[in-house]
């Protein structure tokens, strides 16, 4: 009946094999397993690209004879207004977009969860104070804050990650807080308290694991909205300076040509979609794998 009991029952003998076991369980969920490899592939691409491996040596080469050509053998995704190969640019653009995904999800997870957990577990005056803080942070005009960050912190990758991280955690904090307000009234928390466990242990061992479902959803949704927000940042001039590119800027540069040159919007959008889809499927799978209550097979 209680989570801790279940955990105890299914806990494998050797802790080393937990990762292996999780992986074995993941294998049994086909969607999540495929998603896992897709995510690995995308990350590998982004990391290699960021490390300077020229996966896309033509990302900045302008060919004045090949302006805006449709996808072909020579240019599998076509070219842009300056004759640059879109395939090369999409590959190159992955580095920033993937970094944004991880950083914002990371900040949302660490900062958002901690903040929300303190607020929800402590409750009362502390909760009120912390939540009014979230209200204030939420109310400040994003655009103004981001222009200012661009001016103070500077543009470029760091400025972008800083700005997006700064606005990504509030939603998660509110969700975690609500989950904890609800869960801390459950019987198993009383039991744990009676057994003399301290607040930290209770939150980490009993409360957060039971709130993982909504948290994972919130995180998988932070990723695409941050990837897309980055293109808004370049609209206010905080984003990347040309000729750098990301999936967000490629998509937002291309959308006006939707009817005449659909490839400019289509391919970057497809990559964002696939990445988010993989993260969603993987998130679902991970939740099942990590949550010991889940029985993967009926009967």
């Amino acid at each position: 009946m209680t989570a801790s009991l279940n955990t105890a029952l299914e806990q494998p003998a050797k802790p080393v094999s937990r990762v292996a076991l999780a992986f074995a369980r993941l294998k049994k969920i086909p969607a999540a397993y495929v998603a896992f490899w897709v995510v690995c592939l995308i990350c590998l691409m982004a990391i290699l690209s960021a490390a300077g491996v020229p996966l896309s040596p033509y990302a900045f080469d302008q060919a004045t004879d090949d302006l805006l050509v449709a996808p072909s053998m020579k240019h599998p995704m076509g070219t842009d207004e300056l004759g640059r190969d879109l395939f090369a640019r999409v590959i190159y653009g992955s580095r920033l977009s993937i970094a944004i995904g991880f950083v914002t999800a990371g900040v949302a997870f660490l900062l958002g969860t901690t903040y929300g957990a303190i607020s929800g577990y402590c409750g009362g005056k502390i909760d009120t104070l912390l939540m009014r803080g979230v209200d204030i942070a939420y109310s400040l005009p994003d655009l103004l804050v981001m222009i200012l960050i661009g001016v103070l912190v500077g543009k470029g990758t760091f400025g972008i990650l800083f700005a997006l991280g700064l606005v990504s955690w509030m939603g998660t904090a509110r969700l975690v807080r609500a989950q904890l307000l609800q869960l801390k009234e459950e019987e198993f928390v009383e039991a744990a308290k009676a057994a003399g466990q301290d607040g930290f242990t209770i939150v980490m061992k009993h409360l957060l694991p039971n709130a993982m479902g909504p948290i994972i959803v919130a995180l998988t949704f932070t990723v695409p909205s941050a990837i897309l927000s980055e293109s808004t940042l370049s609209f206010i001039g905080l984003g990347l300076s040309a000729p750098e590119c990301s999936w967000g800027t490629l998509a937002s540069d291309g959308w006006r040509s939707l009817r005449a040159h659909p490839h400019l919007l289509g391919f970057p959008s497809l990559f964002i979609f696939l990445t988010v889809l993989s993260f969603n499927a993987l998130g679902d799978g991970l939740r099942d794998v990590l949550d010991p209550r889940t029985r993967l097979f009926k009967g």
Partner: protein, 306 residues
């Protein structure tokens, strides 16, 4: 419950004051001013403009002037739209956004929550997979693309709905759909995750194995608990939707207030920035207070202080 609401209203004043103060000084730290234009003006003219709008005084003094006026209920004037007050501008635009936002909110909830519940109950079936695809599209395709597609398909190609403008109820359909797509997707995924949590509780499993009729009564009781995360995101979501969306208003030429959250900042229209921010903050405080009240209806064990 009443006490909670009253207490919230009291704390609203200091919260709004903090928001006003932070916004005021942030806004003045940002480079560029309301009268910087493509064509640079002679210094004599800039001096005349600054004097007219009291921008020649020290910032701290301007802050005091602003707060004094605000205390009297005066939201100030627009620097961009000459001779229009912030109150004029917002009171004309707000009803439009309120209508569109409420419609979108309603759509998002009546699509998102049932879809999520269904996906959880029919977990692993094609319906669950389709729901995941749809909601992934909802969150990873930006609003301007969804909108452009809808306009093309229904407005230009099929010609069954208006392309844009704000004239009749029919004009509301495409913008409301565009606006609702992403929140509906989020609500669907969140509901699914939350319902799954409940479905996996042992006593629900037991009930489920005993037969469908028994199980449906259990569902009625547990779904309420499962709605806590959904209601949590509805708080800020409501405030965001009813204050309008820049993208949707821009795309469909709708005279709502969402545009001002962007244009007031890009125009450095100082009083209008303050006005939009304070209205949003006030709405957020109200909706989040309602959320906290709703918690106690959904799950009476939850304790929230005012």
């Amino acid at each position: 419950m009443l006490a909670l609401i009253l207490k919230r209203l009291l704390t609203a004043v200091p919260v709004l004051l903090v928001v006003a103060t932070l916004t005021f000084f942030l806004m003045r730290m940002v480079p560029g001013g309301p009268f910087d234009a493509d064509k640079n003006l002679p210094p004599a003219i800039v001096a005349n403009l600054n004097a007219k709008y009291q921008l020649d005084k020290p910032v701290a003094e301007q802050y005091v002037i602003y707060l004094t006026r605000l205390a009297k209920g005066d939201l100030g004037i627009s620097y961009k739209y000459v001779n229009r007050t912030v109150l004029d501008i917002l009171s004309e635009a707000m009803p439009v956004s309120l209508q569109l936002g409420s419609a979108a909110l309603l759509l998002a909830v009546i699509i998102g929550v049932p879809l999520g519940t269904l996906a959880a109950v029919k977990r692993g079936t094609w319906l669950d997979v389709a729901a995941m695809f749809l909601s992934t599209a909802g969150i990873s395709v930006p609003g301007f693309v969804t909108g452009a597609f809808l306009i093309f398909i229904f407005g230009i190609w099929l010609k069954i709905l208006p392309v844009a403008l704000w004239e009749s109820p029919a004009h509301m359909i495409l913008p409301a759909l565009t606006l609702a797509f992403s929140p509906a997707a989020y609500l669907a995924r969140l509901t699914r995750a939350s319902v799954l949590e409940i479905l996996e509780k042992d006593w629900v499993r037991t009930a489920r194995s005993k037969g469908l009729s028994h199980w449906s009564t259990v569902m009625k009781h547990t779904l309420r608990n499962a709605l806590v995360p959904v209601v949590t995101v509805l708080g800020p979501l409501t405030a965001i939707l009813i204050t309008g969306s820049f993208v949707v208003e821009y795309l469909y030429a709708i005279p709502g207030m969402g545009r001002f959250f962007v244009t007031a900042v890009t125009n450095r229209d100082y009083d209008l920035i303050m006005g939009t921010t304070l209205i949003f903050a006030a709405l957020l405080i109200v909706t989040n207070a309602i959320v906290d009240v709703a918690y106690q209806i959904l799950d009476p064990r939850m304790k929230v202080e005012g």
